[in-house]
Amino acid sequence: LLFGVLKDVYASVPAPSEMPSGATVDSILSHYRQSVPQQAPLLKSIAVAVNSEFARLSTKLNDGDEVALLPPVSGG
């Protein structure tokens, strides 16, 4: 899932489908870094949620996990 500005920037980038076993949050980010290299700096300030919980780059992914890329928040 993509939110805010990331949804616009990666609108035409297909979501990563087949991830190799042992894939991590960082594997997902690599996919987006490589798809639009000029926007890669955007990914430095984001948070990532796996199944609605904040996760780290090193968090391992399992089948069926919901991964969300969250740009800096601006609620309130």
């Binding site: 899932l1 939110f3 805010g4 500005v5 616009d8 949050v25 980010l29 300030s45 984001i46 948070a47 990532v48 949620a49 609605s52 919980e53 904040f54 996760a55 780290r56 780059l57 969300a68 969250l70 740009p71 800096p72 928040v73 601006s74 609620g75 309130g76």
Partner: protein, 146 residues
Amino acid sequence: VANQVKLVRAPIAVAELQQRIRDGSDGAVCVFEGIVRNNTRGRLTQYLEYEAYETMAQQELERLVQQAMQQFAVREVIVHHRLGRIEICEASVFIAVASAHRAAAFDACRWLIDMLKKQVPIWKKEFFVDGAVWADGEPFPAEVKA
């Protein structure tokens, strides 16, 4: 906690919530409303649109409410955040804290809005006369950054 926190798409029922939260044991109700400003650094805003990662925003807000009630020992908290299109002067967020004494109510209210603005997954897009942009947002605290 679930009925203390709500993400809503209609105008926030501010007056009703302020009535609902009070109890005989309270000595203070502290209310914060975030409202839509008509400009950003001088650029004229027409309206805002908010979106959220709703399941997570609900869950994170419920955690913050629980934490605030423990940390500041206040009796009751209500947080409503509106999503979708919001016009100038309308409330985007409403926080009410009821407590026996005012200091705890003020502190909890301030803490809640500050935490909300740092780490609850909600985003606003600003619509200006001459275009629209996603607001920059606040940098994530190190504890939640990827």
